[in-house]
């Protein structure tokens, strides 16, 4: 175990226990800035933690970031760890981060699918779904990015419990999804929601379940353009951007379609590196560059959220 978050190794992949230790250490080191909130327990009983970065105030407008809802996308959880440390380093040092945190809270869920993540470390590195059981089927797990109440069960998700895109019996059937839904509804003041996946280098906005353009499509497109420009400025990594359905394929019941329909205008989802060499098996040497470039895009979205209140 690292003795502090300064000696934590950000350039390697870590187990769930190591990440949870990191979270505790970060909170202990920055009690005035960071707190840990448990928003629920997984199907297998693991705690689901969210880091809250706040400089005070009461129910301030907030930005939500989650990483790793698909458990095998290891670079996303690893990037989430790096983001958490970066926020604590930059608050009070970097004017953009300082300004954002002086006005908004940031919530960061580093391991959004803890059961699946633990399973990728112990049994099956390629596991993507939750670990819940479906009655009447031998197959396990639901795709937590098809389980949200936005076009739930429509084309772009599978009704087959053995499929990797199985949508589940009902919307929010997965406690990992329901916990976020409850949190977002109870909070009531989340203004941006960014869900991070890998891979294929995309920055996407709603919708995925319908080809109808989102009412804010023009603005979202401009924000996405600015974000991918910022991202590319570091290492030249090229991202495509657009609506989910236009840019990749139809996907129903996805996270940011639900958040957008809840009124969270700045709803985006990332697909991080790469373009076709390693896929989900991105070497650990690329964790930090991936996180660094993604951070620039996140800052763009967060800054836009701050300067465009609604």
């Amino acid at each position: 175990r690292a003795t502090s978050t300064d000696t934590f190794n950000y350039a390697t992949y870590h187990t769930l226990e190591e990440i949870y230790d990191f979270i505790d250490q970060l909170v202990a080191e920055h009690p005035q800035l960071v707190s840990k909130i448990q928003i629920g327990n997984t199907y297998e009983g693991r705690p689901i933690y969210v880091l809250k970065f706040s400089t005070g105030g009461n129910n301030r407008p907030a930005i939500w970031i989650d990483t790793g809802i698909h458990s095998r996308e290891w670079v996303t959880q690893a990037s989430g760890v790096w983001f958490a440390k970066k926020i604590t380093e930059d608050y009070g040092q970097d004017p953009t981060v300082t300004s954002i945190l002086d006005n908004l809270d940031v919530f960061l869920e580093i391991v959004t699918n803890p059961d699946g993540f633990a399973f990728t470390h112990s049994q099956n590195r390629m596991w993507r779904k939750t670990r819940s059981r479906t009655s009447g089927s031998f197959c396990i797990g639901v795709d937590p990015n098809r389980n949200w109440d936005a076009g739930f069960g429509k084309a772009g998700a599978s009704s087959n419990p053995c499929s990797d895109t199985y949508h589940g019996k009902t919307a929010n059937s997965e406690v990992e999804v329901k916990s976020i839904v409850d949190f977002v509804k109870n909070h009531g003041n989340i203004k941006a929601f960014i869900s991070i996946h890998s891979y294929s280098q995309l920055l996407l906005y709603p919708y995925g379940y319908t080809s109808e353009p989102a009412p804010d499509q023009k603005e979202l497109h401009q924000v996405a353009k600015s974000a991918v420009t910022a991202l590319a400025s570091l290492y030249g990594t090229k991202y495509q951007y657009g609506s989910i359905i236009d840019t990749i394929y139809q996907a129903s019941g996805s996270t940011v379609d639900w958040t957008y329909n809840q009124g969270i205008k700045y709803s985006f989802t990332f697909e991080l590196r790469d373009t076709g060499r390693y896929g989900f098996l991105l070497p650990a040497s690329q964790i930090i560059p991936t996180a660094q470039e993604t951070w620039l895009a996140l800052l763009t979205i967060m800054e836009h959220t701050q300067t465009h209140p609604y």
Binding site: T12, G276, F280
Partner: protein
């Protein structure tokens, strides 16, 4: 732990809508145990699929029979996983 020895990840290039549909048909063949990392979407959009060793020949024959281009993106998944584990172990040590 699940063993991925001999599993390959193929990057498939479907040139037209008909080829996209052909690749989509592969998704329904459950006995092949394919794992689509990037699903079939539209012509020109790459499709990545992890193919277990026992299915490799059948998939490649299927693609070649329909004139669908592909290249091997990952030669052996388990080799990469072993490297990943070694790296994690080295850092722990």
């Amino acid at each position: 732990s699940e063993d991925f020895v001999g599993h390959q990840v193929l990057r498939i290039s479907a040139a037209n809508e008909a080829q996209v549909q052909k690749v989509a048909e592969l998704q329904d063949l459950e006995h092949l145990q394919l794992d689509f990392w990037r699903g079939p979407a539209r012509p020109g959009s790459p499709i990545d699929v992890r193919v277990p060793f026992p299915s490799i020949q059948a998939v490649k024959i299927f693609l070649e029979a329909h004139g669908i281009g592909y290249e091997i993106m990952i030669e052996d998944v388990q080799t990469l996983l072993d490297e990943e584990q070694e790296q994690m172990s080295a850092f722990r040590a």
